[in-house]
């Protein structure tokens, strides 16, 4: 009985969050560089607010939402039962550990999900930023791209969300936001980690002005 009730609650919660994000932001999706497609992809975007996850999720077509899974920090998102339930039951996220002390490879859960055929939403900055421009990207994106060379990497720019709910605030403010998806990219032959991450960051940033 209880699992069914929780399932229902998760469905209701997802509709509530989708409705809320539409009322607050208009949640415009602009597929500028590629159309939405049901193929395996890694979406990577700038990260300035918790609402980013909901924004990009709402921007995807309904059919894709089940197979596109976001990546979230385990220490933060499993801290309370509610956060844990929200991220696992509603968003079906993949948890990664941020502390390097762990024995296992931090990318292990992502690789498993990719092998199962899921697409990913990555925030390669690792944490929410304060500045106008995204911080330097972390290496995870590069490592994943090397492991799965056939998967498209789609940059995305989430616009205005830092105004919706800046880091440290709890009440969101209505403001029109949009998610712009850019042209898919891949790691070039012989490209090293640093170069690729710079290029990926530039690709995200370039979408700000299209």
């Amino acid at each position: 009985m209880k699992p069914i009730v929780l399932d229902w609650a998760a469905t209701l919660m997802s509709y509530f969050l989708l409705g809320l994000i539409r009322i607050l932001t208009g949640s415009q999706a602009r597929w500028w560089g590629c159309p939405p497609k049901a193929e395996q992809r890694i979406y990577f975007a700038n990260h300035q607010s918790h609402a980013d996850l909901v924004m990009i999720w709402a921007a995807l077509p309904k059919e894709l939402r089940h197979s596109v899974r976001a990546v979230a920090a385990r220490d933060y998102w499993t801290r309370t039962p509610f956060k844990h339930w929200l991220t696992s039951a509603v968003f079906n996220v993949i948890y990664v550990s941020r502390d390097r002390s762990a024995e296992e490879d931090p990318l292990e859960p992502l690789i498993e999900a990719m092998k199962a055929g899921d697409s990913l939403i990555l925030f390669p900055e690792g944490t929410r930023g304060f500045a106008d421009e995204p911080q330097a990207f972390k290496a995870g994106l590069y490592n994943l791209a090397l492991k799965f060379p056939e998967v498209e990497l789609v940059p995305a720019w989430i616009n205005n969300v830092q105004r919706l709910m800046p880091k440290g605030e709890v009440v969101p403010v209505p403001v029109l936001c949009s998610v712009t998806f850019g042209a898919p990219m891949r790691v070039l032959p012989g490209e090293d980690r640093h170069e690729f991450l710079q290029r990926a960051r530039a690709a995200v940033l370039a979408l700000r002005d299209v």
């Binding site: 607050l24 208009g26 949640s27 415009q28 999706a29 602009r30 616009n159 205005n160 830092q162 105004r163 800046p166 605030e169 009440v171 403010v173 209505p174 403001v175 029109l176 936001c177 949009s178």
Partner: protein, 332 residues
Amino acid sequence: MYQTLKNLSPSQQVGALFVIVFGLLLLAGLVLFLRSMREFEDQQMAQRHRDEVDNLTQLLKTSWLLIFVFWVAWLSGDAARLVLFGLGSFFALREFLTLSPTRHSDHRSLVLAFFGVLPFQYWLVGTEHFNLFTVFIPVYVFVALPVASALANDPVHFLERNAKLQWGIMVCIYGMSHVPALMLLDFPRYDKKNAFLMLFLVLVVQTCMVTQHLVARRLIQLGKPSAAPRISQSFTWRAWWAGMAAGSLLGALLAGITPFVPGQAFALSFIACATGSLGHLVMKALKRDRGVPIWRDQGKGVTGAGGMLDRIDALCFAAPVFFHSIRWHFGI
């Protein structure tokens, strides 16, 4: 015909009026559709014709939207009506503030504006607190919001940020809330037909705007210069007077559905049209300042609710002046 209409009950009269207006809109749509079928030999002519039809279609859509909203507002009860207009304010303010850069430190003031000031203003309308309703935003909110901003401890562009927020609240919440407030005016011997008054205001202002727009387009084609070309490509005083004449005359003709005699209806329509059309010009100036053609995120979005403020700005300016002129003239 007139006698039969007069013998109907007030709500039947309002219903009949909506039927007539919807019929006219349908007719306009049909004419437009037929005109869009016309074919041209000349490519350039065809392009121009297409542009004009697109433009008119946009205008017709706006009219449909406005009239439809008012129809729903009339059908639903008082509370639902307030919620409807409250949502209108909400979306308009959302657009306004998207294009006005705010900083992190404005967050609390924005929360206050959206979730404090907006519902409270409409609650004041609903509970008929007329005196507080008219001064709440210009007096109390005017003081309260800068205090919230000052406490956020950020002096950068303080005056600009606060001025923008105050402006947005004044236009989108204060102006808009005066439309449903018309329902609450208590005229002697008018037995609560105030829905007519709302419809009267919308029809008159919208007619003025449409006429002004059409005449302005014609004048541009004839090569007449705009009176303020850096603000609006299309604003000319001749077009403005044409709009004023159309709106005010329609107002005088519609005097039968209002508690006014034709002279009063003419004067009040004139006032509403003047404030509405000039307010629209002011909003255009704000848009030019922000470098956008329409009130919509980045001006390039193709989907989503955008451009709301473009449609209702004239009404937001006209409603408070219309409302207060009536109260002042009739002493109610």
